[in-house]
Amino acid sequence: MKSAVIVFPGSNCDRDLATALHEVTGTAPAMVWHRETSLPDGIGLVGLPGGFSYGDYLRCGAISARSPIMAAVVAAAERGVPVLGICNGFQVLTEVGLLPGALMRNAGLNFVCRDVALTVGTSQSVFTQRYDAGETIRIPVAHQDGNYAADAETLDRLEGEGRVAFRYAEPVNGAARAIAGILNPAGNVLGMMPHPERMIGPAHGGSDGRRLFESLLEAVA
């Protein structure tokens, strides 16, 4: 599977994501600088990595969401290409409007960096089909602004439409309804605060994140 990882100034998980994609899919992703205006042809996934793009200036992900490559990412998402935003990538996806809501400062104000337990909300997506709904998995988080916020109507809709992909199974950041990851209405855009690319094998202490990439590979291949 061909894939692309977008690199913003201040991205710092782009290599982690590229390594995970290379290992699971067998193909090294194209690294696409944010100044580019188009994506490589025939890609099966666009990844927006974690980090502190533009130093989190203004709001996390706000400046990146307006960078030249994002018009191509939005167009790809609208064509049905899977788009995965992890951590800062999730913040960018909300800022660009591909996902609803916003990620606010953690309720406890602290940077939270540890493995957390997550509950899988749905197995009905190209990202989660290798998981069982209701299953508990462990994946690390590393963020200061992961406190998901949206109005009650949006939260009800996300839950009613089965678009909550992952929930925290323990207190982490004060996120509304413990939301850790959400899907767009078509199910081809996933934003999540936890880092599946940091949990893909024994050296990481577990492989619960690996199945997310295997799900994508299976869906796209």
Binding site: R66, A102, M104, N106, G108, L109, N147, A149, A150
Partner: protein
């Protein structure tokens, strides 16, 4: 032409930074503070004749995230 944009969290949106400032003020002995809300001030130096609509578009498209924030435009 200078304009100030005040960006504040909407009512009802939890403001952890405001809460932390409140705690710190209390710790310093300022016990009469009922609540603290933190926001942003953005000063724009604009070309003469920039329209109000254009400034509002800047606020809506970038300067504020209207999911969680309000903005107020103040001419200087």
């Amino acid at each position: 032409m200078k304009t100030r944009i005040f960006v504040t969290l909407k009512n009802g949106v939890l403001d952890p930074q405001g809460k932390a400032i409140h705690h710190a003020l209390h710790a310093l002995g300022f016990t009469g503070v009922n609540d603290v809300r933190a926001g942003k001030l953005i000063e724009l130096d604009l070309a003469d004749g920039t329209s109000r609509e254009e400034i509002e578009a800047m606020c809506n498209r970038l300067l504020a995230n209207t999911v969680i924030e309000n903005f107020r435009i103040e001419d200087m």
